[in-house]
Protein backbone atom coordinates (compact mmCIF):
# COMPACT_ATOMS: atom_id res chain seq x y z
CA UNK A 1 0.00 0.00 0.00
CA UNK A 2 1.17 3.50 -0.81
CA UNK A 3 1.62 5.66 2.26
CA UNK A 4 -0.30 8.91 2.25
CA UNK A 5 1.79 12.05 1.94
CA UNK A 6 0.74 12.96 5.46
CA UNK A 7 2.08 9.77 7.03
CA UNK A 8 5.25 9.93 4.93
CA UNK A 9 5.97 13.49 6.00
CA UNK A 10 5.42 12.71 9.68
CA UNK A 11 7.56 9.56 9.51
CA UNK A 12 10.43 11.36 7.81
CA UNK A 13 10.26 14.22 10.27
CA UNK A 14 10.09 12.01 13.37
CA UNK A 15 12.85 9.71 12.08
CA UNK A 16 15.23 12.59 11.32
CA UNK A 17 14.61 14.17 14.72
CA UNK A 18 15.16 10.86 16.51
CA UNK A 19 18.20 9.67 14.55
CA UNK A 20 20.14 12.90 13.98
CA UNK A 21 21.60 13.05 17.54
CA UNK A 22 23.57 9.87 16.80
CA UNK A 23 25.75 11.99 14.51
CA UNK A 24 26.11 14.99 16.83
CA UNK A 25 29.79 15.48 17.75
CA UNK A 26 28.96 17.90 20.57
CA UNK A 27 26.07 19.25 22.61
CA UNK A 28 26.21 22.42 20.54
CA UNK A 29 24.38 20.55 17.78
CA UNK A 30 21.41 19.90 20.05
CA UNK A 31 21.16 23.63 20.42
CA UNK A 32 21.22 24.17 16.63
CA UNK A 33 18.65 21.40 16.25
CA UNK A 34 16.23 22.97 18.68
CA UNK A 35 16.59 26.34 16.93
CA UNK A 36 15.70 24.63 13.66
CA UNK A 37 12.59 23.13 15.26
CA UNK A 38 11.52 26.44 16.74
CA UNK A 39 11.87 28.13 13.34
CA UNK A 40 10.28 25.08 11.73
CA UNK A 41 7.20 25.55 13.85
CA UNK A 42 6.79 29.18 12.78
CA UNK A 43 7.20 28.32 9.09
CA UNK A 44 4.70 25.47 9.38
CA UNK A 45 2.19 28.13 10.40
CA UNK A 46 3.23 30.19 7.39
CA UNK A 47 2.65 27.18 5.14
CA UNK A 48 -1.01 27.44 6.15
CA UNK A 49 -1.07 31.16 5.40
CA UNK A 50 1.21 31.38 2.35
CA UNK A 51 1.18 27.87 0.92
CA UNK A 52 -2.45 26.93 1.46
CA UNK A 53 -4.28 30.27 1.43
CA UNK A 54 -1.88 32.24 -0.79
CA UNK A 55 -1.74 35.24 1.54
CA UNK A 56 1.43 37.00 2.63
CA UNK A 57 2.51 38.40 5.97
CA UNK A 58 5.70 40.30 6.67
CA UNK A 59 4.75 40.85 10.28
CA UNK A 60 4.45 37.42 11.82
CA UNK A 61 7.44 37.96 14.07
CA UNK A 62 5.07 40.29 15.92
CA UNK A 63 3.16 37.22 17.08
CA UNK A 64 6.41 35.47 17.98
CA UNK A 65 7.14 38.53 20.12
CA UNK A 66 3.77 38.28 21.84
CA UNK A 67 4.37 34.58 22.58
CA UNK A 68 7.89 35.24 23.82
CA UNK A 69 7.04 38.17 26.09
CA UNK A 70 3.98 36.37 27.45
CA UNK A 71 6.41 33.77 28.84
CA UNK A 72 8.57 36.50 30.32
CA UNK A 73 5.84 38.70 31.76
CA UNK A 74 2.89 36.52 32.77
CA UNK A 75 4.83 34.42 35.33
CA UNK A 76 6.11 37.61 37.03
CA UNK A 77 2.98 39.75 36.89
CA UNK A 78 0.17 37.20 36.90
CA UNK A 79 1.92 34.41 38.73
CA UNK A 80 1.21 32.01 35.87
CA UNK A 81 3.27 28.87 35.26
CA UNK A 82 5.40 29.46 32.12
CA UNK A 83 3.51 26.73 30.25
CA UNK A 84 0.23 28.52 30.87
CA UNK A 85 1.92 31.80 30.02
CA UNK A 86 2.72 30.32 26.60
CA UNK A 87 -0.93 29.30 26.20
CA UNK A 88 -2.03 32.78 27.24
CA UNK A 89 0.37 34.22 24.64
CA UNK A 90 -1.12 31.94 21.98
CA UNK A 91 -4.66 33.00 22.91
CA UNK A 92 -3.62 36.66 22.89
CA UNK A 93 -1.96 36.25 19.49
CA UNK A 94 -5.09 34.58 18.14
CA UNK A 95 -7.24 37.44 19.43
CA UNK A 96 -4.95 40.11 18.02
CA UNK A 97 -4.65 38.26 14.71
CA UNK A 98 -8.44 38.16 14.55
CA UNK A 99 -8.71 41.92 15.08
CA UNK A 100 -5.78 42.88 12.85
CA UNK A 101 -6.53 40.29 10.16
CA UNK A 102 -10.08 41.46 9.51
CA UNK A 103 -9.16 44.83 7.97
CA UNK A 104 -5.77 43.95 6.45
CA UNK A 105 -6.79 40.71 4.73
CA UNK A 106 -9.12 42.73 2.52
CA UNK A 107 -5.89 43.90 0.90
CA UNK A 108 -4.07 41.86 -1.70
CA UNK A 109 -0.47 41.22 -2.71
CA UNK A 110 2.00 43.95 -1.81
CA UNK A 111 -0.66 46.06 -0.08
CA UNK A 112 -1.17 43.20 2.35
CA UNK A 113 2.61 42.78 2.65
CA UNK A 114 3.07 46.42 3.67
CA UNK A 115 0.13 46.44 6.08
CA UNK A 116 1.33 43.27 7.85
CA UNK A 117 4.84 44.71 7.93
CA UNK A 118 3.40 47.70 9.76
CA UNK A 119 1.85 45.41 12.35
CA UNK A 120 5.16 43.67 13.05
CA UNK A 121 6.97 47.00 13.42
CA UNK A 122 4.26 48.19 15.80
CA UNK A 123 4.72 45.20 18.12
CA UNK A 124 8.52 45.47 18.20
CA UNK A 125 8.26 49.24 18.86
CA UNK A 126 5.94 48.64 21.80
CA UNK A 127 8.29 45.98 23.19
CA UNK A 128 11.30 48.31 22.84
CA UNK A 129 9.60 51.40 24.20
CA UNK A 130 7.75 49.99 27.20
CA UNK A 131 11.09 49.65 28.98
CA UNK A 132 9.62 49.60 32.47
CA UNK A 133 7.67 46.49 31.64
CA UNK A 134 9.86 44.76 29.07
CA UNK A 135 13.34 45.99 29.85
CA UNK A 136 13.35 47.75 26.50
CA UNK A 137 16.00 46.92 23.90
CA UNK A 138 18.17 45.23 26.57
CA UNK A 139 15.60 42.49 26.92
CA UNK A 140 14.51 40.57 29.99
CA UNK A 141 14.89 37.24 31.71
CA UNK A 142 12.44 34.38 31.21
CA UNK A 143 11.70 31.86 33.97
CA UNK A 144 12.51 28.17 33.75
CA UNK A 145 9.80 25.97 32.18
CA UNK A 146 10.46 23.33 34.85
CA UNK A 147 9.48 20.35 32.71
CA UNK A 148 13.05 19.01 32.69
CA UNK A 149 12.99 18.72 36.48
CA UNK A 150 9.69 16.87 36.33
CA UNK A 151 11.11 14.44 33.77
CA UNK A 152 14.14 13.85 35.98
CA UNK A 153 11.84 12.93 38.85
CA UNK A 154 10.38 10.10 36.75
CA UNK A 155 13.82 8.88 35.73
CA UNK A 156 14.38 10.66 32.40
CA UNK A 157 17.55 12.63 32.90
CA UNK A 158 18.34 14.98 30.01
CA UNK A 159 20.86 17.78 29.78
CA UNK A 160 19.40 21.22 29.15
CA UNK A 161 20.25 21.20 25.41
CA UNK A 162 19.02 17.61 25.00
CA UNK A 163 15.75 18.47 26.68
CA UNK A 164 15.08 21.45 24.44
CA UNK A 165 16.02 19.44 21.37
CA UNK A 166 13.52 16.73 22.29
CA UNK A 167 10.78 19.04 23.49
CA UNK A 168 10.80 21.47 20.55
CA UNK A 169 11.13 18.49 18.19
CA UNK A 170 8.00 17.04 19.75
CA UNK A 171 6.07 20.30 19.43
CA UNK A 172 7.19 20.60 15.79
CA UNK A 173 5.90 17.12 14.93
CA UNK A 174 2.63 17.99 16.64
CA UNK A 175 2.39 21.24 14.69
CA UNK A 176 3.18 19.47 11.42
CA UNK A 177 0.52 16.84 12.15
CA UNK A 178 -2.14 19.52 12.65
CA UNK A 179 -1.13 21.40 9.50
CA UNK A 180 -1.17 18.19 7.45
CA UNK A 181 -4.59 17.23 8.82
CA UNK A 182 -5.80 20.64 7.79
CA UNK A 183 -4.45 20.24 4.25
CA UNK A 184 -6.77 17.32 3.47
CA UNK A 185 -9.78 18.67 5.35
CA UNK A 186 -12.73 20.78 4.17
CA UNK A 187 -11.07 23.86 5.70
CA UNK A 188 -7.75 23.16 3.98
CA UNK A 189 -9.47 22.65 0.65
CA UNK A 190 -11.36 25.92 1.07
CA UNK A 191 -8.04 27.69 1.74
CA UNK A 192 -6.32 26.14 -1.26
CA UNK A 193 -9.37 26.87 -3.40
CA UNK A 194 -9.36 30.58 -2.61
CA UNK A 195 -5.64 30.55 -3.35
CA UNK A 196 -6.34 29.06 -6.80
CA UNK A 197 -9.28 31.29 -7.74
CA UNK A 198 -11.04 33.58 -5.32
CA UNK A 199 -14.02 34.13 -7.55
CA UNK A 200 -14.54 30.40 -8.13
CA UNK A 201 -14.17 29.70 -4.41
CA UNK A 202 -16.80 32.32 -3.63
CA UNK A 203 -19.24 30.91 -6.14
CA UNK A 204 -19.05 27.44 -4.60
CA UNK A 205 -19.94 29.01 -1.26
CA UNK A 206 -16.55 29.62 0.36
CA UNK A 207 -16.72 32.68 2.61
CA UNK A 208 -13.34 33.96 1.45
CA UNK A 209 -12.92 36.67 4.09
CA UNK A 210 -13.67 34.18 6.86
CA UNK A 211 -11.22 31.55 5.63
CA UNK A 212 -8.40 34.04 5.10
CA UNK A 213 -8.92 35.06 8.69
CA UNK A 214 -8.83 31.42 9.83
CA UNK A 215 -5.45 30.97 8.11
CA UNK A 216 -4.13 34.22 9.57
CA UNK A 217 -5.17 33.33 13.12
CA UNK A 218 -3.81 29.78 12.91
CA UNK A 219 -0.45 30.94 11.57
CA UNK A 220 -0.30 33.59 14.30
CA UNK A 221 -0.73 30.89 16.94
CA UNK A 222 2.11 28.87 15.40
CA UNK A 223 4.37 31.95 15.43
CA UNK A 224 3.38 32.71 19.00
CA UNK A 225 4.19 29.21 20.26
CA UNK A 226 7.47 29.35 18.35
CA UNK A 227 8.33 32.63 20.11
CA UNK A 228 7.41 31.12 23.49
CA UNK A 229 9.67 28.10 22.90
CA UNK A 230 12.54 30.38 21.91
CA UNK A 231 12.10 32.52 25.02
CA UNK A 232 11.84 29.53 27.34
CA UNK A 233 14.91 27.77 26.00
CA UNK A 234 17.06 30.92 25.86
CA UNK A 235 15.74 32.04 29.27
CA UNK A 236 16.20 35.53 27.94
CA UNK A 237 14.41 37.59 25.34
CA UNK A 238 14.94 40.86 23.45
CA UNK A 239 12.57 42.78 21.14
CA UNK A 240 14.54 41.40 18.16
CA UNK A 241 12.28 38.35 18.31
CA UNK A 242 9.46 40.56 17.03
CA UNK A 243 11.71 42.47 14.64
CA UNK A 244 11.43 43.02 10.93
CA UNK A 245 14.42 40.78 10.20
CA UNK A 246 12.82 37.86 11.99
CA UNK A 247 9.59 38.27 9.97
CA UNK A 248 11.57 38.32 6.73
CA UNK A 249 13.55 35.26 7.81
CA UNK A 250 10.36 33.32 8.48
CA UNK A 251 8.91 34.08 5.06
CA UNK A 252 12.24 33.39 3.33
CA UNK A 253 12.56 29.97 4.99
CA UNK A 254 9.00 29.09 3.96
CA UNK A 255 9.33 30.15 0.35
CA UNK A 256 12.86 28.82 -0.11
CA UNK A 257 11.97 25.35 1.13
CA UNK A 258 8.58 25.27 -0.59
CA UNK A 259 5.57 27.13 0.78
CA UNK A 260 3.15 24.49 -0.45
CA UNK A 261 4.77 21.70 1.53
CA UNK A 262 5.14 21.35 5.30
CA UNK A 263 8.27 19.25 4.96
CA UNK A 264 9.71 21.63 2.39
CA UNK A 265 9.23 24.68 4.57
CA UNK A 266 10.82 22.90 7.54
CA UNK A 267 13.75 22.00 5.28
CA UNK A 268 13.95 25.70 4.42
CA UNK A 269 14.09 26.50 8.13
CA UNK A 270 16.83 23.91 8.62
CA UNK A 271 18.91 25.28 5.77
CA UNK A 272 18.62 28.94 6.68
CA UNK A 273 19.27 28.19 10.33
CA UNK A 274 22.43 26.17 9.66
CA UNK A 275 23.76 27.71 6.46
CA UNK A 276 25.11 30.86 8.10
CA UNK A 277 27.19 28.62 10.40
CA UNK A 278 28.43 26.49 7.50
CA UNK A 279 29.19 29.51 5.35
CA UNK A 280 31.49 30.98 7.99
CA UNK A 281 34.27 29.20 6.04
CA UNK A 282 33.77 31.95 3.48
CA UNK A 283 34.43 34.41 6.27
CA UNK A 284 33.56 37.95 5.20
CA UNK A 285 31.72 36.62 2.15
CA UNK A 286 29.26 34.67 4.30
CA UNK A 287 26.29 37.02 3.82
CA UNK A 288 27.10 37.32 0.14
CA UNK A 289 27.02 33.53 -0.32
CA UNK A 290 23.75 33.30 1.60
CA UNK A 291 22.15 35.88 -0.64
CA UNK A 292 23.46 34.13 -3.73
CA UNK A 293 22.09 30.73 -2.67
CA UNK A 294 18.67 32.28 -2.04
CA UNK A 295 18.58 33.98 -5.43
CA UNK A 296 19.67 30.86 -7.30
CA UNK A 297 17.06 28.69 -5.62
CA UNK A 298 14.27 31.10 -6.45
CA UNK A 299 15.42 31.50 -10.06
CA UNK A 300 15.82 27.79 -10.78
CA UNK A 301 13.30 26.30 -8.35
CA UNK A 302 10.39 28.64 -8.10
CA UNK A 303 8.19 26.29 -6.14
CA UNK A 304 10.91 26.03 -3.51
CA UNK A 305 13.58 23.41 -2.92
CA UNK A 306 11.65 20.33 -1.89
CA UNK A 307 8.66 20.48 -4.30
CA UNK A 308 11.02 21.18 -7.22
CA UNK A 309 13.33 18.31 -6.33
CA UNK A 310 10.53 15.76 -5.82
CA UNK A 311 8.94 16.84 -9.09
CA UNK A 312 12.22 16.27 -10.89
CA UNK A 313 12.75 12.86 -9.32
CA UNK A 314 9.19 11.81 -10.19
CA UNK A 315 9.60 13.12 -13.73
CA UNK A 316 12.67 10.94 -14.17
CA UNK A 317 10.96 7.90 -12.63
CA UNK A 318 8.15 7.91 -15.18
Amino acid sequence: MRLSSKVTTLLILAAVIAIAPVFFPSSYYFRVGSLIFVNGLAVTGLVILIGYAGQISLGHAGFAGIGAYACALAPVHLGLHPAFAALLGAALSAGIAFLVGRPILRLKGYYLAVASLGFGILVSMVLSNEAQLTGGPDGMAVPELGLRGALKAIGIDLSNTEFWYAFSGFVLVLGAWLALNLHHSPTGRALRALHGSEVAARTVGVDVAHYKLVAFVLSAVYASVSGSLLALQNKFITPDVAGFMHSIEMVTMTVLGGAGSVLGAILGAAILTTLPQVLTIFQEYEQLMLGLVMMLVMIFMREGLLPSITRRIRGRGE
Partner: protein, 261 residues
Amino acid sequence: MSLLQIEGLGIDFGGLRAVNDVGFSLKPGEIVSVIGPNGAGKTTLFNMISGVYAPARGRVVLDGEDVTRMPPHLLARRGLSRTFQNLQIFQSMSVLENAVVGHHLHERGSVFADLFSLPAARRRSKASEDSARALLDRVGLGRAAEQEAGSLSYGALKRLEIARALALKPRVLLLDEPAAGCNAVETEEIDHLIAQVAAEGVSILLVEHDMKMVMRISNHIVVLDHGEKIAEGEPAAIARDPRVIEAYLGAQATEAKHADG
Protein backbone atom coordinates in the same frame (compact mmCIF):
# COMPACT_ATOMS: atom_id res chain seq x y z
CA MET B 1 -44.06 30.68 -10.58
CA SER B 2 -40.65 31.83 -11.67
CA LEU B 3 -37.63 30.72 -9.68
CA LEU B 4 -35.28 33.43 -10.89
CA GLN B 5 -36.51 36.81 -11.96
CA ILE B 6 -34.34 39.52 -13.50
CA GLU B 7 -35.78 43.03 -13.63
CA GLY B 8 -34.27 46.04 -15.42
CA LEU B 9 -30.71 44.96 -14.66
CA GLY B 10 -27.90 47.30 -15.73
CA ILE B 11 -24.26 48.24 -15.13
CA ASP B 12 -21.80 50.75 -16.61
CA PHE B 13 -18.03 50.53 -16.98
CA GLY B 14 -16.77 54.09 -17.20
CA GLY B 15 -18.86 55.57 -19.98
CA LEU B 16 -19.83 52.18 -21.42
CA ARG B 17 -23.36 50.92 -20.77
CA ALA B 18 -22.29 47.28 -20.71
CA VAL B 19 -25.77 46.04 -19.79
CA ASN B 20 -28.94 48.10 -19.68
CA ASP B 21 -32.51 47.36 -18.62
CA VAL B 22 -32.40 43.60 -19.12
CA GLY B 23 -35.22 41.53 -17.69
CA PHE B 24 -36.57 37.99 -18.04
CA SER B 25 -37.49 35.07 -15.84
CA LEU B 26 -36.68 31.43 -15.35
CA LYS B 27 -39.00 28.66 -14.19
CA PRO B 28 -37.87 25.47 -12.40
CA GLY B 29 -36.42 22.97 -14.86
CA GLU B 30 -36.42 25.49 -17.68
CA ILE B 31 -33.47 26.11 -19.99
CA VAL B 32 -33.12 29.75 -20.98
CA SER B 33 -30.31 30.78 -23.32
CA VAL B 34 -28.80 34.22 -23.58
CA ILE B 35 -27.31 34.86 -26.99
CA GLY B 36 -25.73 37.83 -28.68
CA PRO B 37 -22.56 38.86 -30.49
CA ASN B 38 -19.17 39.19 -28.76
CA GLY B 39 -19.20 42.01 -26.24
CA ALA B 40 -23.00 42.05 -26.05
CA GLY B 41 -22.88 41.83 -22.26
CA LYS B 42 -23.74 38.16 -21.65
CA THR B 43 -20.91 37.43 -19.23
CA THR B 44 -21.45 40.77 -17.51
CA LEU B 45 -25.10 39.82 -17.01
CA PHE B 46 -24.01 36.50 -15.46
CA ASN B 47 -21.56 38.31 -13.21
CA MET B 48 -24.33 40.55 -11.90
CA ILE B 49 -26.77 37.70 -11.33
CA SER B 50 -24.15 35.63 -9.49
CA GLY B 51 -23.02 38.52 -7.27
CA VAL B 52 -19.56 38.93 -8.79
CA TYR B 53 -20.45 42.45 -10.03
CA ALA B 54 -22.83 44.81 -8.21
CA PRO B 55 -25.46 46.02 -10.69
CA ALA B 56 -26.08 49.76 -10.84
CA ARG B 57 -29.74 49.33 -11.70
CA GLY B 58 -32.44 46.70 -11.42
CA ARG B 59 -33.17 43.67 -9.26
CA VAL B 60 -32.43 39.98 -9.07
CA VAL B 61 -35.13 37.96 -7.32
CA LEU B 62 -34.44 34.34 -6.39
CA ASP B 63 -37.42 32.31 -5.24
CA GLY B 64 -39.23 35.42 -4.04
CA GLU B 65 -36.23 36.89 -2.21
CA ASP B 66 -34.48 40.04 -3.42
CA VAL B 67 -30.84 38.91 -3.79
CA THR B 68 -29.52 41.92 -5.72
CA ARG B 69 -25.85 42.62 -4.83
CA MET B 70 -25.72 39.64 -2.48
CA PRO B 71 -22.16 38.19 -2.34
CA PRO B 72 -21.62 34.97 -4.32
CA HIS B 73 -21.05 32.71 -1.30
CA LEU B 74 -24.48 33.63 0.09
CA LEU B 75 -26.09 33.10 -3.30
CA ALA B 76 -24.44 29.67 -3.38
CA ARG B 77 -26.20 28.84 -0.11
CA ARG B 78 -29.48 29.76 -1.77
CA GLY B 79 -28.79 27.31 -4.57
CA LEU B 80 -27.27 29.48 -7.30
CA SER B 81 -24.20 28.05 -8.98
CA ARG B 82 -22.20 28.90 -12.10
CA THR B 83 -19.32 28.14 -14.42
CA PHE B 84 -16.94 30.63 -16.04
CA GLN B 85 -16.23 31.48 -19.64
CA ASN B 86 -12.56 32.13 -18.86
CA LEU B 87 -11.80 29.03 -16.81
CA GLN B 88 -11.57 29.44 -13.04
CA ILE B 89 -10.00 26.15 -12.02
CA PHE B 90 -8.05 25.42 -8.85
CA GLN B 91 -4.95 24.60 -10.90
CA SER B 92 -2.69 23.07 -8.28
CA MET B 93 -5.39 20.79 -6.86
CA SER B 94 -6.29 17.41 -8.31
CA VAL B 95 -9.31 16.99 -10.57
CA LEU B 96 -11.06 15.16 -7.74
CA GLU B 97 -10.31 17.90 -5.22
CA ASN B 98 -11.71 20.51 -7.58
CA ALA B 99 -14.99 18.62 -7.64
CA VAL B 100 -14.84 18.04 -3.87
CA VAL B 101 -14.54 21.78 -3.23
CA GLY B 102 -17.92 22.15 -4.90
CA HIS B 103 -19.33 20.30 -1.87
CA HIS B 104 -17.97 22.94 0.48
CA LEU B 105 -21.40 23.99 1.75
CA HIS B 106 -22.36 20.40 2.54
CA GLU B 107 -19.10 19.47 4.28
CA ARG B 108 -18.42 22.54 6.40
CA GLY B 109 -17.63 21.77 10.02
CA SER B 110 -15.47 23.25 12.74
CA VAL B 111 -11.84 24.18 12.06
CA PHE B 112 -11.03 22.33 15.27
CA ALA B 113 -12.41 19.04 13.92
CA ASP B 114 -10.41 19.58 10.73
CA LEU B 115 -7.14 20.29 12.57
CA PHE B 116 -7.41 17.17 14.67
CA SER B 117 -8.87 15.10 11.83
CA LEU B 118 -11.76 14.05 14.04
CA PRO B 119 -13.99 11.24 12.76
CA ALA B 120 -16.76 13.72 11.94
CA ALA B 121 -14.43 15.69 9.67
CA ARG B 122 -13.18 12.55 7.97
CA ARG B 123 -16.73 11.34 7.43
CA ARG B 124 -17.69 14.63 5.78
CA SER B 125 -14.62 14.50 3.53
CA LYS B 126 -15.36 10.92 2.55
CA ALA B 127 -18.99 11.71 1.72
CA SER B 128 -18.07 14.63 -0.53
CA GLU B 129 -15.32 12.59 -2.17
CA ASP B 130 -17.76 9.80 -3.07
CA SER B 131 -20.23 12.28 -4.46
CA ALA B 132 -17.45 14.09 -6.36
CA ARG B 133 -16.36 10.83 -8.01
CA ALA B 134 -19.92 10.17 -9.15
CA LEU B 135 -20.11 13.68 -10.64
CA LEU B 136 -16.78 13.24 -12.43
CA ASP B 137 -18.10 10.03 -13.95
CA ARG B 138 -21.16 11.91 -15.04
CA VAL B 139 -19.13 14.51 -16.97
CA GLY B 140 -16.76 11.82 -18.31
CA LEU B 141 -13.76 12.67 -16.14
CA GLY B 142 -13.88 9.71 -13.78
CA ARG B 143 -10.56 8.34 -15.01
CA ALA B 144 -8.76 11.66 -14.61
CA ALA B 145 -9.73 12.02 -10.93
CA GLU B 146 -6.21 11.78 -9.51
CA GLN B 147 -4.52 13.99 -12.11
CA GLU B 148 -3.49 17.54 -11.41
CA ALA B 149 -6.24 19.76 -12.80
CA GLY B 150 -3.73 21.95 -14.63
CA SER B 151 -2.83 19.01 -16.88
CA LEU B 152 -6.30 18.64 -18.45
CA SER B 153 -7.35 19.90 -21.88
CA TYR B 154 -9.52 23.01 -22.24
CA GLY B 155 -12.65 21.02 -23.03
CA ALA B 156 -12.08 18.71 -20.07
CA LEU B 157 -11.66 21.69 -17.74
CA LYS B 158 -14.98 23.07 -18.99
CA ARG B 159 -16.61 19.83 -17.94
CA LEU B 160 -14.77 19.86 -14.62
CA GLU B 161 -16.31 23.26 -13.92
CA ILE B 162 -19.75 21.81 -14.62
CA ALA B 163 -19.10 18.95 -12.19
CA ARG B 164 -17.94 21.41 -9.54
CA ALA B 165 -21.02 23.59 -10.06
CA LEU B 166 -23.33 20.57 -9.87
CA ALA B 167 -21.73 19.55 -6.57
CA LEU B 168 -23.60 22.38 -4.88
CA LYS B 169 -26.86 20.65 -5.79
CA PRO B 170 -28.01 23.95 -7.30
CA ARG B 171 -31.54 25.06 -8.05
CA VAL B 172 -30.28 27.55 -10.64
CA LEU B 173 -27.22 26.85 -12.76
CA LEU B 174 -25.53 29.49 -14.91
CA LEU B 175 -23.35 28.05 -17.67
CA ASP B 176 -21.11 30.49 -19.58
CA GLU B 177 -20.11 28.83 -22.87
CA PRO B 178 -19.84 25.26 -21.51
CA ALA B 179 -19.14 23.77 -24.94
CA ALA B 180 -16.40 26.19 -26.00
CA GLY B 181 -13.27 24.27 -26.93
CA CYS B 182 -15.09 20.96 -27.04
CA ASN B 183 -15.23 18.72 -30.10
CA ALA B 184 -18.51 17.59 -31.68
CA VAL B 185 -18.78 14.45 -29.54
CA GLU B 186 -18.05 16.31 -26.31
CA THR B 187 -20.51 19.04 -27.27
CA GLU B 188 -23.22 16.45 -27.71
CA GLU B 189 -22.39 14.94 -24.32
CA ILE B 190 -22.67 18.34 -22.67
CA ASP B 191 -25.91 18.90 -24.51
CA HIS B 192 -27.33 15.67 -23.02
CA LEU B 193 -25.99 16.50 -19.59
CA ILE B 194 -27.67 19.91 -19.57
CA ALA B 195 -30.98 18.44 -20.69
CA GLN B 196 -30.70 15.77 -18.00
CA VAL B 197 -29.93 18.26 -15.24
CA ALA B 198 -32.84 20.43 -16.33
CA ALA B 199 -35.11 17.38 -16.34
CA GLU B 200 -34.22 16.93 -12.67
CA GLY B 201 -35.76 20.33 -12.01
CA VAL B 202 -32.71 22.59 -12.08
CA SER B 203 -33.24 25.87 -13.91
CA ILE B 204 -30.49 26.55 -16.41
CA LEU B 205 -29.31 29.85 -17.79
CA LEU B 206 -27.03 29.20 -20.72
CA VAL B 207 -24.67 31.34 -22.76
CA GLU B 208 -23.45 29.47 -25.80
CA HIS B 209 -22.19 30.37 -29.26
CA ASP B 210 -23.04 26.96 -30.75
CA MET B 211 -26.40 27.91 -32.31
CA LYS B 212 -27.41 24.35 -33.17
CA MET B 213 -27.09 23.41 -29.51
CA VAL B 214 -28.94 26.52 -28.35
CA MET B 215 -31.84 25.99 -30.74
CA ARG B 216 -32.09 22.32 -29.81
CA ILE B 217 -32.17 22.49 -26.03
CA SER B 218 -33.52 25.92 -25.07
CA ASN B 219 -37.09 26.45 -23.92
CA HIS B 220 -36.66 30.17 -24.25
CA ILE B 221 -34.05 32.50 -25.72
CA VAL B 222 -33.05 36.04 -24.73
CA VAL B 223 -31.09 38.03 -27.30
CA LEU B 224 -28.69 40.77 -26.21
CA ASP B 225 -26.97 43.34 -28.39
CA HIS B 226 -24.86 46.21 -27.08
CA GLY B 227 -26.10 45.45 -23.58
CA GLU B 228 -29.78 45.72 -24.48
CA LYS B 229 -32.35 42.98 -24.83
CA ILE B 230 -33.45 43.13 -28.47
CA ALA B 231 -35.69 40.07 -28.53
CA GLU B 232 -36.86 37.08 -26.55
CA GLY B 233 -39.05 34.10 -27.28
CA GLU B 234 -39.11 30.47 -28.34
CA PRO B 235 -36.21 29.17 -30.43
CA ALA B 236 -38.22 28.94 -33.64
CA ALA B 237 -39.47 32.50 -33.32
CA ILE B 238 -35.98 33.82 -32.50
CA ALA B 239 -34.50 32.06 -35.51
CA ARG B 240 -36.95 33.96 -37.72
CA ASP B 241 -36.68 37.36 -36.01
CA PRO B 242 -35.12 39.80 -38.51
CA ARG B 243 -33.45 41.93 -35.79
CA VAL B 244 -31.80 38.87 -34.35
CA ILE B 245 -30.63 37.67 -37.74
CA GLU B 246 -29.14 41.08 -38.39
CA ALA B 247 -27.48 41.52 -35.00
CA TYR B 248 -26.22 38.06 -34.37
CA LEU B 249 -27.01 35.23 -36.70
CA GLY B 250 -26.15 37.47 -39.63
CA ALA B 251 -22.87 38.40 -38.09
CA GLN B 252 -22.14 34.73 -37.56
CA ALA B 253 -23.08 33.89 -41.10
CA THR B 254 -20.60 36.51 -42.29
CA GLU B 255 -17.99 35.05 -39.99
CA ALA B 256 -18.71 31.57 -41.33
CA LYS B 257 -18.34 32.85 -44.86
CA HIS B 258 -14.98 34.37 -43.97
CA ALA B 259 -13.93 31.10 -42.38
CA ASP B 260 -14.95 29.13 -45.47
CA GLY B 261 -13.29 31.55 -47.84
